[in-house]
């Protein structure tokens, strides 16, 4: 069975005055897929979402929703659901009236309308607030109602514009799980805009990483995390250690790099080949580094140094180690039998060549 494409962006370009904010945006979203636009503020993710919603029109390129060309079609004719960062519930309407707003515009009969409002409020687990006004609800409840209002019209596409960023940490996690559950239950095609990498990683089928209006990478969360296409993607998603150096040798199994601080790093095969003498940056994630006691002779993928800072964070301890002139961030899982993490003591850092990522350094 061939896949159904719900949304297609073809070479979308948008500029404000002479400032290009989105360029060469190509994307196909399959039916039922959950796709996130992830990037720092000003990367063009919200602009792109606004183009899909119809609040902005692309300057170049084509936008197709369910196979229909949407350029120039106003938002109210696109049959979409959208949830905003600021909830955007109508303050002069009760919860039930808010949810029924889109149905009323579609001239749904009264009995059916009441039934659908009731059903969607049960779906977001808030059937008891129907007669309240938005200001009588908590932030999390408001956002659930906003989701219900978007879903009740059975939109062809659900757009989420940073819907969790106005909530406090605990609530945000709760609502994130809720979004995941809703998506699994209803299976509506969803585009989710966020600057929070954790949200994107946990919710998405695929992630589009954006930077300066350019698509850096499109891929599954695992691909984005483990096989980043660029230094930007790698550093934006998760913490990492960056060590600059020069390639000593490249062979069939991988390559060897000597860092500026004198460490010898062995990396497994990369997506591209490097020439000896080439300037590169080497990346190792903090959770991939293990700490061991004392000092040992210098060898490959190994740095001895001094523990500078240890911050206990519950499930793990974040350590800063000064090794060979490089500050290294190390995440230590606490299992109760580890060595005492006293600042100032000598430690050994080790990592595997499979966990090393090498990227070329652009000459400035």
């Amino acid at each position: 069975m061939s896949k159904v494409i719900d949304v297609e962006l073809r070479n979308i370009m948008k500029k404000f005055q002479n400032n290009v904010v989105v360029r060469d945006f190509n994307l196909q979203v399959e039916q039922g897929e959950f796709v996130s636009f992830l990037g720092p503020s000003g990367c063009g993710k919200t602009t792109t979402l606004n183009m899909i919603a119809g609040f902005l029109d692309p300057d170049e390129g084509e936008l197709l929703i369910k196979g229909r060309r949407m350029n120039g079609v106003p938002p109210y004719k696109r049959e979409l659901g959208m949830v905003f960062q600021t909830y955007s519930l109508f303050p002069h309407m009760t919860v039930a009236e808010n949810v029924a707003y889109g149905l009323k515009l579609r001239k749904v009969g009264k009995a059916e309308m009441q039934e659908r409002v009731k059903r969607v409020l049960e779906l977001v687990k808030l059937p008891h607030v129907a007669d309240r006004y938005p200001k009588q609800l908590s932030g999390g409840q408001r956002q659930r109602i906003a989701i219900a209002r978007a879903l009740v019209i059975e939109p062809s596409l659900l757009l989420l514009d940073e819907p969790l960023s106005n909530l406090d940490a605990k609530l945000r996690e709760e609502l994130r799980d809720e979004l995941k559950r809703l998506h699994q239950e209803i299976g509506v095609t969803t585009i989710f805009v966020t600057h929070d990498q954790e949200e994107a990683l946990s919710l998405s089928d695929r992630i589009v990483v954006l930077n300066h209006g350019r698509v850096e990478q499109i891929g599954t969360p695992e691909e984005i995390y483990n096989r980043p296409a660029s230094e930007f993607v790698h550093t934006f998603i998760g913490k990492t250690n960056r060590l600059e150096g020069v390639v000593l040798a490249q062979d069939g199994e991988g390559l060897t790099v000597k860092t500026a601080g004198g460490l010898i790093v062995r990396a497994a095969r990369q997506q591209r080949a490097f020439a000896p003498g080439e300037r590169v940056a080497v990346f190792v994630r903090p959770e991939k580094i293990r700490l061991a006691d004392g000092a040992a002779a210098d060898e490959v993928n190994h740095a001895s140094g001094q523990l500078m800072i240890a911050s206990f964070l519950g499930a793990f301890t974040e350590c800063e180690v000064k090794a060979g002139g490089h500050p290294l961030s190390v995440k230590v899982q606490m299992d109760g039998q580890g060595m005492p993490l006293t600042p100032g003591r000598a430690v050994n850092c080790r990592w595997e060549s499979e966990d090393v990522l090498v990227m070329p350094v652009e000459r400035g």
Binding site: F55, Y76, K77, M82, F84, H92, Y101, Y133, A150
Partner: protein, 280 residues
């Protein structure tokens, strides 16, 4: 020093002024309005008003002119307020200044300005005559129309600023939400923008209505001798006829009817739902 005492001391000067030049003279006028020719207590001034259709007609005309002024300022002012709400901060400042600029000139001079525009030899009539669209000059002032035009010009700023203030408070993403749910721009205006600007509309309409009811200069200049309103006849009784008790009674009848109408209006429009939505 306690907070209450310092508040009392700080407001004392204005309280003394208000008491001396406003409250006490008002009370004296109220007493005066209940006096007959022999300075004895009597209801004759009020009875005269109720029994004489001449006075009732003037009160009704005052109300009618004020209602028309409210309607004109509302319809002309709302789009300006909407423009201001959507404009950038700098543009808002410019528009606010343009709206307030005419108030830098005395209302008398502004009303004479209208003569140049609306008079028999004003440029509207001159132009229409030259174009052959009319044979005789239109009567654009020295009638109720002229008064409404003059009052609209005087008070539209209050309406615009009151509505703009309530429009500023509306989250712009609400109209986006309405739009994505399927509402056209007209629909969005009537179901979202208009209901949410109600506090501004109420403030603007009551303000313009009260100001129009008590306006004296504009009706006197733009209405001429034929269009008499309550403040004008109260003035005439006091200054020309020297019937102070009747003039005082007319002033209090005007005040009373304004308060009554404004109260009825706000009672009617501020429903239970309104209070629930807009209560702070």
């Amino acid at each position: 020093m306690s907070k209450r005492l310092s508040i009392l001391l700080l407001t004392a000067p204005s309280m003394i002024v208000l008491l001396g030049v406003f409250l006490i003279p008002m009370l004296l006028m109220l007493l005066l309005s209940f006096q007959d020719d022999t300075q004895a207590f009597s209801l004759q001034n009020y009875l005269l008003f109720i029994q004489d259709p001449f006075y009732l007609e003037i009160l009704w005309r005052t109300i009618r002119i004020s209602l028309w002024t409210v309607l004109c300022t509302l319809l002309l002012g709302f789009p300006v307020a909407m423009f201001m709400a959507q404009a950038s901060g700098r543009m808002r400042g410019v528009v606010t200044m343009l709206i307030l600029a005419p108030h830098l000139i005395s209302v008398v001079i502004r009303n004479f300005g209208w003569v140049v525009v609306l008079g028999e030899k004003g440029w509207i009539n001159e132009t229409l005559l030259k174009l052959g669209l009319i044979d005789q000059p239109l009567r654009l002032m020295y009638n109720e129309l002229g008064v409404v035009i003059g009052l609209t010009d005087s008070f539209i700023a209050y309406m615009v600023l009151a509505i703009a203030t309530s429009l500023y408070a509306i989250d712009p993403s609400l109209s986006k939400a309405a739009s994505i749910l399927g509402a056209s721009r007209v629909r969005t205006f009537f179901t979202v923008t208009l209901p949410l600007s109600l506090p501004g509309i109420i403030a603007g309409t009551t303000l313009v209505f009260s100001l129009s009811m008590s306006a004296f200069v504009t009706p006197a200049l733009m209405g001429g001798t034929s269009v008499k309103v309550m403040p004008v006849i109260a003035y005439e009784q006091i200054m020309s006829t020297l019937n102070w008790p009747l003039g005082a009674a007319l002033a209090f009848l005007l005040l009373g009817s304004t308060i009554l109408l404004v109260t009825l209006y706000t009672r009617l429009i501020e429903t239970k739902r309104y209070k629930e939505v807009f209560a702070s």
